[in-house]
């Protein structure tokens, strides 16, 4: 977490030098030189570049004294390659009520015979459509766009929802030559501000005097300027790319308007906690009522707490199926029963209420899922969390974190999206506290293969796999991704060139482990009295995972992984071991990844290959990517190891 925090908040000296391409930033003042530009020197692979971008956000009184949020946006984009033309298509969503988009201007500039020719987009090609209930979008495409075009677009967005200020982004998936942004805010609205990204803009704070009728007030201005911001590409092993874009986030802490009562929002976590305690989230986790009483007897089916929780879960899901949604605010139990299905938050809320009715401590835990980005404790925000799970405590103080809805999870097995290091626990009695969900138990995959070989190189074997902790969740989710068992088996066969029989996997089994086993046949390669045996039936990791030469964002692994693999081979009569793979122990230079391979003879006709893999790091920073890449190559190479047997 600490390393992550440092990466995200890294305060490098702000960009003080001028932009690579000099230009007149005023709207309409595109120069022939900009239109003639053939490539962007700092990044010659870029298919387009933002030459200049200006965003002005203003939260102020309108002429009838209501507070409004207005955004004036202007962007000038240079199309450099064919696939850059898609940056000339625009779509702006807005709420059907209380928001509007207007003053849209789109002009394309092209250099033709040395002269700048400008084409404006006609109003009739700006489309405003209803997308779905409550949401509209304005969409349009710049006219006459070619490779080399410079497109200017400007518009105004107005919203009555002044309390939510979207992030001001300083980075995109194409490079930015020059960006400026001003955020004006009424003195009565106190926003906290957090800036992130490895390169940060020059920042200045100022204020302007204003008047509304007889009332004097001030607008505080945050100004940002930056130059030559590189693009941030989309990369694999990343849960939320947006969090790594350089940006400024604002979160409303309070509204203090003279003559009106103070409204506090999230100025510190205590105020967030207070709001949670007063909300339906808390209420539905401590509910009472007929439904709760009817479910209580289910707890009698178990002796241990674990058994009681599982029995109660079954009883709840008998009445209310999980609808595959996560939800956040639990619904009342009566509504859930009526609908017959509900989201995970509601199921967890109902479970907590029943447990509490039986004097078992069960409290809500709010989580910001990994897909939403890392939660920075120093940046308090009302919308910090999006998931609700439970903390169930035994009488001896052991805590179990639990998402009752997930068919693949268990007590202290949450699924990769919820493994964060700062979730927020809300005990009924006691103060809220930060909890770490990343180290709830050991995640281990243990595989044992027993294989025997005949002289024609035909092998028969049995493979048994047991996965514990998050590894079990991962195995179950993968198995569930196939609509039929046959498809899953087919995939396993193809991977290892196997013919599988007696496949045993219970996809309905619920617990902290998952078991999979099968018998198989396979043929090894033979030549001139030798048999070449591959001790690994399949690779545990993909060779393609880190093929990119560079990395811009951290690599995020699903969980801290451990694998123990043991392969036992009985060699045929009349053969001897000519060569075993050499033992190896390899550590990733700058990260906590490690593997070991050991091969040994076991008696006259036995061979054992032991492989251990360990990854203690859930995140690898970009500066350590080169080491990870080299380590990964060696790791994937191990899976191709070969034992050589020779006919005596």
């Amino acid at each position: 977490m600490k390393r992550t925090l440092i990466f995200i908040l890294l305060l490098v000296a702000p960009l003080a030098y001028a932009q690579h391409i000099k230009l007149d930033k005023r709207e309409g003042k595109v120069s022939p030189e900009e239109a003639a530009l053939a490539q962007y020197e700092p990044d010659t692979t870029a298919s387009a570049v933002v030459l200049y971008d200006y965003t002005y956000v203003c939260i102020d009184f309108n002429n009838v004294g209501e507070i409004n949020k207005t955004v004036n946006a202007y962007s000038r984009i240079k199309i450099l390659k064919e696939d850059g033309k898609s940056y000339a298509d625009f779509s702006i969503p807005y709420a059907n009520k209380g928001e509007s988009v207007f003053n849209i201007k789109v002009v394309t500039h092209n250099l033709e015979d040395g002269k700048l020719v400008s084409t404006k987009l006609a109003r009739k090609y700006i489309f405003d459509e209803l997308v779905t209930e409550g949401v509209r979008k304005v969409s349009f495409s710049a006219p006459d766009v070619k490779v080399g075009s410079v497109v200017e677009i400007s518009y105004t967005f107005n919203s009555a929802n002044y309390a939510e200020l979207e992030d001001v982004f300083f980075q995109q998936e194409i490079p930015i030559n020059w960006l400026e942004a001003d955020v004006d805010c009424l003195q009565y609205l106190d926003f906290s501000r957090q800036v992130r990204g490895t390169r940060q803009p020059v920042f200045k704070r100022d204020s302007n005097d204003r008047m509304l009728g007889d009332m004097h007030y001030q607008l505080y201005r945050d100004s940002y300027v930056l130059y030559d911001m590189p693009a941030l590409p989309d990369e694999s092993f990343s849960y939320c790319r947006d969090q790594f874009y350089a940006a400024a986030s604002y979160s409303l802490r309070s509204i203090v308007i003279p003559g009106f009562s103070v409204q506090s929002f999230a100025d510190n976590w205590s105020s967030v906690d207070d709001l949670i305690r007063k909300s339906e989230i808390f209420k539905e986790c401590h509910a009472k009522g007929k439904v709760i009483d009817e479910l209580k007897p289910a707890l009698d089916k178990g002796e241990t707490l674990e058994e009681k929780v599982v029995a109660l879960r079954e009883a709840i899901l008998e009445k209310v199926k999980w609808n595959k949604n996560t939800g956040f605010v639990p619904k009342p139990a009566s509504q859930m029963l009526k609908e017959g299905s509900s989201d995970a938050a509601s199921i967890n809320g109902l479970m907590a209420s029943v447990l509490r009715a039986a004097d078992i401590q069960a409290d809500p835990v709010l989580v910001r899922s990994r897909e939403k980005g890392i939660l920075i404790q120093s940046h308090v925000r009302m919308d910090a969390f999006d998931r609700l799970i439970l903390c169930i405590q035994t009488g001896t103080g052991t805590s179990y974190y639990y998402d009752a809805a997930s068919p693949d999870g268990y007590l202290n097995v949450l699924g990769e999206g919820l493994i964060v290091d700062n979730a927020r626990l809300y005990p009924m009695d006691g103060s809220p506290a930060w909890v770490d969900l990343q180290s709830l138990g050991k995640n281990l995959t243990s595989i044992v293969v027993q294989e025997s070989l005949d002289a024609s190189a035909l092998a028969v074997g049995k493979r048994k796999e047991v996965a514990y902790g998050e590894a079990s969740c991962s195995l179950k989710e993968y198995a569930r991704s196939f609509s039929k068992d046959e498809e899953y088996i087919s995939e396993l066969e193809k991977d290892g060139q196997l013919e599988i029989t007696d496949f045993q996997y219970d996809k309905e089994a619920y617990g902290s482990s998952a078991r999979l086993q099968f018998d198989y046949e396979r043929e090894h390669q033979t030549a001139q009295g030798r048999i070449y045996v591959h001790p690994f039936l399949n690779s545990f990791h993909s060779q393609q995972a880190f093929s990119s030469p560079v990395r811009y964002t951290p690599v995020e692994f699903p969980y801290a992984e451990n694998i123990n693999y043991r392969y036992n081979l009985e060699i045929p009569e009349g053969f001897e071991v000519e060569q075993l793979p050499e033992d190896a122990a390899v550590k990733c230079g700058s990260a906590n990844l490690y593997f070991r391979l050991q091969c040994a003879r076991m008696g006259a006709r036995g061979i054992q290959v032991q492989f251990q893999f360990q990854n203690k790091d859930m995140m690898i920073l970009p500066e350590n990517y080169a080491d990870l890449k080299v380590f990964w190559e060696h790791l994937c190479n191990v899976y191709k190891s070969t034992i050589v047997l020779k006919k005596i």
Binding site: E129, T132, E133, K321, E487, Q497, V630, K640
Partner: protein
């Protein structure tokens, strides 16, 4: 249908499908040539979670169709019905175009108490024109059986209609000044979806119907046959091909030096590529009527109709005739005896080139396609040329299967530590070149991504050394033209071969025979449907491996040669001095075989995959005694 009755039926049915359509009653009542009402009543029994897809509502509307009313009910196994209101259904814009008035209404039951019965009733109003009646497709999901489904087309007596219904039971009745055309399906068993199966439309009941005479968006015509439909489409295009005078002059100046029609086409096709791009706008009759050529000229964008119409106008200004044509890029054959614009999803331009004794079938939405090439969405397809005298149905010539090929040549300079430098070349013909048409203009990282995505090794320092094509050959070869793209590239890899010692000097190197080949996909299970392979595959890999100094061959994989109903496959590895020449060649044939033969196909696929994943073994030379 009560829940009890539904459950009784289930008990009688035996092994259960995921869902059963107990009754599906659909009626389209035509009130006038431009208006009508579509009334639907459907009842599903959902046996498990997989059956929810079949019982989900998916309803499309646009500016010609409006959802007028909806109600529904779910009766779960607990027995107490729950009402579904119109407010419970979600509507979304289709979001496939820049602007589109098409919407989809969806509802997926959230209750999960199985078995349960789901019932919908809704009405859709048709207005401003009817080009086709609703398609009757009662089967909506995998493993879904049908008890009874009926579609009634209720039109004023004497209204000519046409339909394509396969073997669906049909009857017609005249009553009270109305003609009632009725199609019925009873006791249809569930269908299982499998890979390599025949197109679903061959297996499920489908009824397409439409009025012969149409009045759509203010345009009247007939679609009795392709001739009359083509004439109607021509009228939609009237007035859309005028170009501004300066543009006409520009076109004439650009093409003045050209001496042949092909040269003029080449100049204007390049102009189209440089000046326009594809943007889809489907509003009102805009999904059938092209944007005016003058607008396309001004905006620099258009959809397939707009761009085809625009190029036709440019060619006309240069004195070259051409015809827009409508095509389905999904299906090679149109429904026999049934002309309807609804079968088509695309428009292109046909330019006769008598000097080459050929016609160029021009893809205007993506002018990177070489002229003279018939891409895979067009070659062999039945299409309808839109001419002033009416539509003309023809078939675009197909290419022989054997002409579409991919050849990968690789020279591997292997080192004793298992690392290697590779010089590679891809040579791609016809269908195989399509993913690489825009390769030359991609940024380097995307080129690397495209070249390495299927590799079974990690490459470094990939450099593209050359990208060329033979697209200019059309001028000399005419109808015999076969486009080809060649990409030359090189790369290094730290681990090409697995050494017997990971951290030091290896005395053996285990070398993958072919780290580039793609496995043949197959499934494991017993099949129900015929095996249907549509399209030909011909991939050849030629690898020359330089043996590192001090090493010799210990083992080479056996040769493989297979020739059966599925195709031909060969694999060989030969020692030639200090190199090993590896050749693997697969040719899969188009075929249709009964399901019982799938075990054969699986054997074939496994044998091929085994050969692809074979290794050869090099060993350090022993010192002389």
């Amino acid at each position: 249908m009560t829940l009890l009755a539904a459950l009784l039926l289930a008990a009688l049915a035996g092994a259960e499908p995921d869902a059963v359509i107990l009754e599906d009653t659909e009626t389209f009542r035509m009130n006038s040539p431009t208006s009508g009402e579509f009334t639907v009543s459907q009842t599903f029994r959902v046996n498990n979670e997989e059956g929810l897809d079949a019982a989900s509502l998916v309803l499309f509307t646009d500016s010609f169709r409006e959802l007028k009313s909806f109600k529904g009910e779910i009766t779960p196994s607990s027995g107490k019905p729950l009402k579904i209101k119109q407010g419970d259904i979600v509507f979304l814009s289709l979001n496939e175009s820049l602007a589109d008035d098409a919407r989809v209404y969806t509802y997926r039951p959230s209750v999960k108490q199985f078995p349960m019965v789901v019932h919908y009733e809704y009405k859709v109003n048709y207005r401003k024109g009817i080009a086709s009646f609703p398609t009757f497709a009662p089967v909506s999901g995998e493993n879904t059986a049908v008890e009874k489904a009926v579609f009634t087309l209720d039109v004023p007596e004497g209204t000519p209609v046409k339909y394509s219904a396969g073997k669906v039971e049909y009857s017609v009745e005249n009553r009270d000044g109305r003609s009632l055309h009725r199609w019925q399906v009873h006791h249809l068993p569930a269908i299982r979806l499998e890979s390599m199966m025949p197109p679903l439309r061959e297996l499920i009941p489908l009824v397409y119907s439409s009025p012969v005479n149409i009045d759509y968006g203010g345009y009247k015509g007939t679609q009795a046959d392709w001739t009359s439909l083509g004439r109607w489409l021509w009228t939609l295009q009237e007035g859309t091909r005028e170009l501004p005078a300066p543009l006409v002059e520009e076109v004439q100046a650009m093409t003045a030096p050209c001496s042949t029609r092909l040269e003029k086409l080449q100049v204007l096709y390049r102009y189209l590529r440089d000046k326009t791009r594809y943007v889809s706008i489907q509003l009102g009759i805009g999904d059938l009527k092209p944007m005016a050529a003058s607008e396309v000229a001004k905006l620099g964008f258009g959809d397939c109709k707009g761009l085809s119409n625009y190029l036709k106008a440019l060619l006309a200004a240069a004195g070259v005739e051409s015809d827009c044509y409508i095509i389905s890029t999904d299906r090679k054959n149109l429904l026999p005896g049934y002309a309807s614009v609804g079968q088509m999803n695309h428009m292109m331009l046909a330019v006769p080139l008598p000097e080459l004794k050929d016609t160029a079938w021009v893809e205007c939405t993506n002018p990177v396609y070489p002229l003279g090439y018939r891409h895979r969405g067009a070659a062999g397809h039945e299409v309808v040329l839109i001419k002033p005298e009416g539509g003309e149905k023809i078939r675009i010539p197909a290419y022989a299967d054997t002409l579409s090929r991919a050849i990968q040549r690789t020279e591997v300079f292997l080192k004793e530590d298992g690392s290697a430098t590779l010089d590679l070349q891809k040579e791609l013909w016809l269908d195989e070149l399509e993913p690489y048409l825009e390769f030359g203009s991609l940024p380097k990282d995307k080129q690397v991504e495209q070249l390495t995505q299927a590799l079974k090794l990690q490459g470094d320092q990939l450099v593209v050394n050359g990208f060329r094509n033979n697209f200019d050959s059309y001028a000399s070869e005419g109808a015999a033209f076969r486009p080809c793209i060649t990409v030359d590239y090189s790369m290094k890899t730290r681990i090409y071969a697995n050494g017997s010692n990971l951290q030091g000097e290896a005395d053996r190197l285990f070398v993958p025979l072919n780290p580039i080949a793609q496995a043949v996909d197959y499934q494991r299970a017993e099949r129900e449907n015929d095996i249907y392979v549509n399209g030909f595959l011909d991939n050849e890999d030629i690898i020359v491996l330089h043996i590192p100094e001090g090493f010799e061959v210990e083992a080479l994989p056996d040769d493989v040669a297979i020739d059966d109903a599925w195709g031909v496959f060969s694999s060989s590895a030969r020692l030639e001095g200090d190199t090993i020449r590896i050749r693997q060649h697969i040719r899969l044939r188009s075929c249709r075989e009964p399901a019982q033969r799938y075990a054969d196909f699986r054997r074939f696929a496994r044998a091929v995959n085994k050969a692809y994943s074979a290794t050869l073994v090099l060993r350090k030379k022993q010192a002389a005694a």
